[in-house]
Assembly symmetry: C2
Homo-oligomer: 306 residues x 2
């Protein structure tokens, strides 16, 4: 139990922070203690800096409550809030910096990742339904930080279609435009797909209300998600962005980084599938470090179990 002191009776807008941290001083997990102390300091500094009023406080309570209540096993509104406040992107950057070796930069996992996707062979298509979008090849290599090929790395790919919709948004049980490939002895992967289109984040919840109040467009530029990994290496959760998308420089969730911007080449003599437009990208996997694991994102069903 926290040692009772008389100081707690002299609460004002300054002493409250120390009193709160003192009462949390009995936290047994040192990392939790450190994180929560910093959280309380920054939270209180925020409230003091803006001189937060009771009305604004209750508006904030109501907003956070609505965000929590919007979450379901298929929807994670708190991750969307974190994404739109730039926090997810920041945690990705901190994660990348913590790596011991160079690797492909992280980007957001997003809400449409699912733990299981069909295992396919090199050159097979992840498309399982008819699409009007442009057929493309996705190919390249998975390399280690010294440039050597990584054999048998798993390359999970998922993406929206030519209308900006993921399979799960079209039909709850549909599996389309997602698949898992494995690299060959040269680290090569190759998939067929259709070129994706950018889309608006879900705008029918409290985060959508915030985005509108902030005059933001709510769009993400066209992108294809990749989760690349192999035991002994640091998993790379990332996405490739199409540089010609009108929203490439104003992604609502700050996922775009220069090194992840790519393009569909209409004629690519290097592509393993002749006469098909192609997107080429090489991924770099760093050796696994103890502090280096984890993903900024999750299958929503892993968070809300009802």
């Amino acid at each position: 139990m926290a040692t009772p002191t008389k100081t707690i009776r002299a609460i004002d807008e300054h002493t409250i922070t120390g009193a709160t941290i003192e009462q949390m001083s009995t936290t047994s997990n040192p990392r939790m203690k450190h994180v929560m102390e910093a959280l309380v300091r920054h939270l209180h500094d925020f409230a003091r800096e803006v001189d937060l009023t009771p009305k604004e406080w209750i508006d904030g309570i109501a907003f956070l409550t609505a965000v929590g209540q919007k979450c379901t096993p298929n929807r994670q509104e708190f991750i969307l809030l974190s994404d739109t406040l730039g926090l997810s992107s920041l945690v990705n950057s901190l994660h990348d910096k913590r790596g011991l070796e160079d690797s492909t930069k992280s980007s957001l996992l997003g809400p449409f990742y699912r733990q299981k996707s069909p295992v396919l062979k090199a050159g097979e298509s992840i498309s399982t339904t008819a699409h009007k979008g442009q057929d493309v090849t996705l190919y390249g290599r998975v390399l280690d930080s010294k440039g050597a090929p990584v054999e048998n790395a798993s390359v999970e790919i998922w993406q929206p279609d030519e209308n900006g919709d993921y399979d799960l948004q079209r039909e709850a049980d549909l599996v389309d435009l997602r698949g898992t490939f494995h690299t060959d002895a040269d680290g090569r992967y190759c998939a067929r797909s259709v070129a994706p289109t950018g889309y608006m984040i879900p705008m029918d919840g409290p985060v959508g209300d915030m985005i509108r109040a902030q005059g933001r467009h709510g769009y993400r530029p066209a992108h294809i998600h990749f989760l690349v990994g192999k035991p002994g290496y640091r998993e790379v959760v990332t996405a490739l962005y199409l540089g010609n998308d009108v929203h490439i420089d104003s992604d609502t969730v700050f996922g775009v980084t220069e090194s992840l911007v790519t393009a569909v080449k209409q004629h690519d003599p290097e592509s393993p599938i002749p006469n098909l437009p192609a997107i080429q990208f090489n991924f770099t996997l760093a050796a696994a470090g103890e502090a280096g694991m984890g993903r900024v994102g999750a299958d929503p069903a892993q968070i809300v179990k009802k």
Copy 2:
């Protein structure tokens, strides 16, 4: 729409904050713009300071989601979180400081306030069921900041019983130990009640998990809630605390302030009801100022409508 710039492509753990604030720069409400910019700065500073990992981030997302999902029209877990992090107390202190004249200090409204309570006459009891607790008189005056009596001020009182339970916790529709009085020409109010007991905050939700992980006892010292007001004056939301409670110096929600600590006098010749122990307290109402309204708290049914 935010002006697209190339800087958004150079996202790292430092540039992300400016990129986020730039994208929010189109917010039409200047106060919302200011508050959200400060929120993003402090949120990002927190994540950078503790070098937040993806695992900790997802734990935080899961925690906030659980807090939101625990809220019902009868329970407000986000207010409880705000209370236990000292934020509610801080917002109260900022609110008090904003007043133009001296007034009684604020304390937490708490989750058991309800908008309607029985209107009673001076000297009547707020108890409607049998209680084993000590009968007490609650009396005093409502004064303005110059010490002049405030006539016909409303004095709403609600409190837990001798077991630390509020009426709503015993039975959903029970009305007991809550009532509204009005002051006489001398500003006097007088109610009969039973002495309350301290109690533990609701510990069966995610906030309870946090409190346990922090080694905190979870108790609030015995107190009686008051909401005192009259048109033209700043409403006072406060509580009186019993100084002999074992948790008086370690309130889990930081509601205790020295000036609100009181005691049951076993013999009080000044009390309007002879031969009954009494708690005496005078409230001071400041004149209403434009920036001075609002309560740190709400009837939970006002926040979650299902």
